[in-house]
């Protein structure tokens, strides 16, 4: 099987700082893969590179066999990569429903001036379906800014899902969530991973261990180790630099 996404020697320098250093990474269709590493390991930069938000200094990104390194963010989105951001990045004054609906609409139409937005029932149905999936259907008429932090984070995922991605990038989806909310989000991610390929950046090891098929460890922008949760748990080097030698 061909990998869905491959990075070859991916490097990003910010001035003198190398945030991502010569990373060779790949993920196969259907996998849920986590990227872990201490703060400043370059995880967020790595996501920004893949999603086209910033351009790499060196290296290549291949998606479904095609080079997407130089594509702008909007094009990458249309190729089928979506991001749910770490810092909640929703449309604050629109309703919860409209947040997801407008994202879903991006796959169909932008410059349509005449029909009523709600008359595109296919788009609305998809939005409702996603709201059901992320558990926010009962809040669909509410203004998104009024949701709780946990609900906003799930809405964030909903917006990403609405763009019908093949590959979903989740940047710390459980950051700042209560244990109950974290539980809900874990279940949500498990559900999503049944039909989508997922790359997850996460600090909470319980989440990582529970949802990932494979784990990649970044350290100072470089790839340190890659393998199954079991492999990573037993990897000496990972334990030394990342866990400080503590047994997980």
């Amino acid at each position: 099987m061909e990998p869905m996404l491959t990075t070859i020697g991916l490097t990003k320098n910010f001035g003198g700082l190398t945030a991502v250093n010569n990373v060779n990474f790949s993920i196969y269709p259907g996998d849920a893969q986590s990227i872990i590493g201490p703060n400043g390991a370059g995880k967020s930069t790595f996501f920004k590179l893949i999603s086209g938000e910033i351009k790499p200094s060196r290296g290549k990104i291949m998606f479904n066999g095609k080079d997407i390194t130089k594509l702008p963010q909007t094009k990458v989105s249309h190729r089928g990569i979506a991001v749910a951001y770490q810092i909640t990045n929703i449309f604050p004054l629109l309703t919860v429903f409209e947040n997801v609906r407008v994202a879903a609409q991006s796959r169909k139409t932008t410059f349509n001036f005449w029909s009523k937005a709600e008359s595109h029932s296919e788009i609305s149905d998809q939005a409702l379906h996603i709201l059901e999936e992320i558990g926010l259907i009962q809040f669909r008429h509410d203004i998104a800014a009024n949701l709780s932090h946990g609900d906003q984070k799930r809405l964030e995922i909903g917006i990403a899902l609405a763009t019908k991605p093949e590959l979903l990038l989740l940047d710390e989806p459980t950051a700042g969530l209560s244990p109950t909310e974290t539980r809900q989000t874990i279940e949500l991610i498990k559900n999503i991973s049944e039909h989508l390929t997922i790359i997850l950046v996460e600090h909470k090891m319980t989440v990582v261990m529970e949802v990932s098929d494979k784990i990649t460890v970044l350290h100072y922008g470089s790839l340190l180790a890659q393998g199954s949760p079991e492999d990573i748990r037993n990897n000496e080097e990972v334990r030394r630099v990342y866990l400080g030698g503590v047994k997980m």
Binding site: Q73, S77, N89, F91, V102, Q105, T110, F113, S115, A117
Partner: protein, 340 residues
């Protein structure tokens, strides 16, 4: 369970028992165009003189176009005099030199307003926020100086005079729109047309993208929308409506003054929109009404009426950033929230 919660959530937004007042507010907010049309039909009979009513709806139309930029897409333009002025000059020049047909003149004014916005917009859209405001201002000033120098075409400092008072050609007969009341309804026709058109656009998928861009441009981009094209197009629509308003104003005055292109006009439309309240259909017209009424009353008292206008504007920025209509809507909202 989810169904129950959904019903509860829905019930919270529409109270079971509505007072007659709430019913009116509800109706107005649901059918703004119908309500406004009704109001504007009665309007010329309640203002001190009909010419003021005509001015108010022309400037209201201009503010409506401006609002597509500021209220619906979140772009602060400081150069809308350009599109208004180009509309005015286009109508004048067409009627004087090309064809004495009001319809054709107004169509050209709208078209040229849009084209100017297309060209200048291409440059301005490259930058966002504050820079966008400064660029729009600078390019509008550029057009002002061009019109100032191009005396053969524009009359320069003296303005474009003697725009013919052409009767309105309709299939089969023609109407003299020289009469103030008839002219008012002629203008109203375009205002309603623009309102319907805008309502349609704002409810369309494109209108929703506009809102998304205003709310969170980077997120809209990451959803795959080419937001700079969306902004550009909104700018063009805004310019076209401003051009139409400019054309109507030239028709109303039979004259185009060089100051129609001056930055003061841009400032005026910004003040009108902010005074009335951004992001609604009614706000711009309320803003235009209050502004022109104040100008009318104050300028009769003192030549230095701008001092009061500036003060009102500063107070508005400091204490009522939502404008008259926006503050009113908020108060209503709070009132009905208390009742629940």
């Amino acid at each position: 369970m989810a169904e129950l919660q959904s019903q509860a959530a829905h019930a919270a937004t529409t109270p079971a028992v509505m007072s007659p007042w709430d019913k009116v507010v509800n109706l107005v907010s649901r059918y703004p165009v119908a309500f406004m049309t009704l109001f504007f039909i009665l309007f010329p009979f309640v203002v001190p003189y009909q010419a003021l009513a005509t001015q108010i709806i022309i400037w209201g139309l201009f503010a409506l176009g401006y609002n597509v930029c500021l209220g619906y897409t979140g772009m602060l333009s400081f150069g809308h005099a350009a599109y208004f002025g180009v509309g005015s000059y286009t109508l004048g020049i067409v009627l004087i030199r090309l064809w004495e047909n009001v319809w054709f003149g107004l169509a050209c004014a709208t078209f040229m307003g849009g084209i100017t916005a297309l060209v200048l917009g291409y440059l301005c859209i490259k930058r966002r926020g504050i820079y966008f405001a400064l660029l729009t201002l600078a390019f509008a000033q550029l057009l002002y100086f061009v019109a100032f120098q191009w005396v053969n075409l524009t009359g320069g400092d003296n303005g474009l005079r003697n725009i013919p008072a052409v009767p309105l050609a309709l299939p089969g007969f023609s109407v003299d729109i020289h009469d103030p009341l008839r002219f008012y309804f002629f203008v109203l026709f375009f205002v309603v047309l623009a309102l319907l058109l805008l309502q349609r656009i704002l409810q369309s998928p494109f209108g929703r993208v506009l809102e998304a861009v205003r709310e969170n441009d980077p997120r809209a981009r990451s959803c795959g929308y080419e937001t700079s094209n969306v902004r550009w197009l909104a700018f063009i629509v805004s310019g076209a409506i401003s051009g139409l308003a400019g054309g109507l104003y030239a028709l109303y005055l039979h004259f185009v003054g060089i100051e129609s292109l001056y930055w003061v006009t841009s400032g005026q439309i910004l003040m009108i929109t902010l005074l009335g309240g951004m992001g609604s259909f009614i706000g711009p017209f309320i803003g235009a009404g209050v502004f022109l009424f104040l100008e009318d009353v104050l300028s009769a008292i003192t030549v230095n009426w701008m001092i009061f206008l500036g003060t009102v504007f500063i107070l508005c920025v400091l204490f009522f950033p939502d404008g008259i209509w926006g503050t009113f809507v908020k108060l209503i909202g709070r009132k009905s929230a208390l009742k629940r």
